[in-house]
């Protein structure tokens, strides 16, 4: 059993679509048209575009592409920090491939590399640590980004570095938490949503409890979903069933991976190594209090911000070009194609906004799979 083919089976998809249509025809849901469901995670956005799911859904049901792509919400200022650190003599800056093309204020990391900086792509933070072991004369800085899914891997790498007392390894930490951001969206008057397709792999780490407030306080159904087309359609059906019944609760469609309590060992590593920052900047969304993480004092020796004298994230945000609609797309107030730069000035080869960088960004996914 590979847990993949079964959840791509077109026969299942057809039945689910039929059920979705039936639900949407119920009077309780017809009154609500359009029903707007946000898929929080960029991985879901990618599946939706790749398999053309939107076109299959009945009229009156809209999918809104949420902010859950860590690359898409990377502020330019953070890229500037990386470029500045990479310019130090002797530094190897290692990060995930997705981060390389994100535009900074002046340059992306890819451009910095072309200009001579030693920027390397790694698959795992452990590979960055291996670089530090292999190059004891160099300073290896790992630019850590990602949501809760990725935090445990970084935390465990820092713990490993600490055990081995590796002195030439540090972390430029831009880990952010999706949960405060969901709350910020729910508080935003411009954002009209009826329910959420919940991020499956964030949830595998944090479990289902952190979302309870969404159901209780905001009365919005929330279904944690897997990443295959059938997973998404089944989750949509579960959300519609809740809406039709006038219910709002947290459900878990992705039980094959997500345990209710999350992953205990992963959470323990994260809380050992990281603490909340008072402020964290999200591209397009601005400052979201207590949504970012930084290294605890105990691990300050591994903190690149201290090592290189970077300030904690500035509150001033360099604005996107005036006609760019990134913030509107991020909040689901506008579709990628409605941005005047989409497909002309802004394309994956020359991204203006970060949503055009990663294939999980709404704009890049829409561009790549447009029909």
């Amino acid at each position: 059993m590979r847990y993949v083919d079964e959840f791509r089976d077109p026969a299942h998809a057809r039945v689910l679509l039929q059920r979705v249509r039936e639900r949407m025809a119920l009077p309780a849901l017809r009154q609500r048209h359009p029903v707007r469901i946000m898929e929080v995670c960029g991985g879901h956005t990618h599946t939706i575009f790749r398999h053309g799911l939107e076109a299959l859904l009945p009229a009156g049901l809209e999918l809104v592409h949420g902010p859950g792509c860590p690359v898409c919400v990377l502020p330019r200022e953070r890229i500037d920090d990386c470029v500045a650190v990479a310019a130090h003599p002797g530094v190897i800056l290692a990060t995930f491939g997705d981060a390389l093309r994100v535009p900074g204020t002046r340059a992306s990391l890819q451009q910095a590399r072309a200009e001579g900086a030693d920027v390397r792509i790694v698959y795992s933070p452990l590979d960055a640590l291996a670089l530090a072991r292999a190059h004891p004369q160099r300073e290896v800085v790992f630019f850590a980004l990602g949501f809760e899914t990725t935090m445990p891997a970084t935390a465990l790498t820092v713990l490993q570095a600490s055990r081995e007392r590796i002195a030439n390894f540090s972390l430029l930490c831009h880990h952010i938490s999706i949960v405060p951001t969901l709350q910020a969206l729910l508080e935003d008057k411009d954002v009209q949503l009826d329910g959420f397709i919940g991020p499956g792999h964030v949830s595998m780490v944090i479990g289902s409890h952190p979302y309870e407030f969404i159901a209780h306080r905001y009365q919005k159904p929330f279904v944690i979903a897997g990443f295959e087309p059938v997973d998404i359609l089944q989750s949509v059906l579960m959300l519609l069933s809740q809406l039709a019944a006038g219910e709002a609760c947290v459900e878990n469609q992705y039980a094959r991976v997500v345990a209710e309590g999350g992953n205990r060992q992963a959470l323990a590593a994260v809380s050992e190594v990281f603490e909340l920052r008072e402020h964290a900047l999200w591209r397009g969304l601005g400052d979201i209090p207590r949504s970012g993480m930084r290294l605890r004092q105990t691990y300050a020796a591994f903190d690149a911000e201290r090592r290189f004298g970077l300030f904690d994230m500035a509150e001033s945000v360099a604005p996107e070009p005036a006609s760019a609609c990134c913030d509107q797309v991020l909040k689901g107030c506008c579709q990628p194609k409605q941005c005047p730069l989409f497909g002309s000035e802004c394309i994956p080869e020359h991204p203006v906004g970060a949503l055009m960088v990663s294939s999980e960004g709404a704009c890049a996914a829409c561009y790549q799979y447009r029909r």
């Binding site: 059993m1 590979r2 847990y3 993949v4 079964e6 026969a11 299942h12 039945v15 689910l16 039929q18 059920r19 995670c41 960029g42 991985g43 859950g68 792509c69 860590p70 690359v71 995930f96 997705d98 698959y123 795992s124 933070p125 452990l126 590979d127 980004l145 990602g146 949501f147 899914t149 990725t150 445990p152 891997a153 465990l156 991020p199 499956g200 792999h201 964030v202 595998m204 780490v205 990443f227 059938v230 089944q234 469609q253 039980a255 094959r256 991976v257 997500v258 345990a259 992953n263 060992q265 992963a266 590593a269 990663s358 999980e360």
Partner: protein, 84 residues
């Protein structure tokens, strides 16, 4: 970015109990087991187990019973559909 890939644990590393080899579509890769290995578990017990891999770490043990239960729900829907 939050991509996770299902893979099967095919070997454990005798020199490092926190490391194992997984196979993903015929390709072998080393992964760290720290997030899926409870204190009292012998890594050998994980041989043949499917895990979800993210950036070099096994992040979850895949639950075959839960997968079957989800699929059973889907089959039920198909049957309702067939009889409707």
């Amino acid at each position: 970015m939050c991509l996770g890939i299902p893979a099967e644990i095919v070997a454990v590393d005798p020199s490092d109990p926190m490391s194992a080899t997984v196979e993903v579509s015929g390709v072998r890769r080393r992964v760290n087991l720290a997030c899926v290995l409870a204190e009292d578990t012998d890594p050998h017990d994980l041989l043949g187990q499917w895990v979800l891999i993210h950036v070099g770490f096994a992040m979850a043990l895949m639950d075959a019973d839960a997968a079957k239960a989800t699929l059973a729900l889907l089959s039920e829907l198909s049957q309702e559909h067939g009889s409707a």
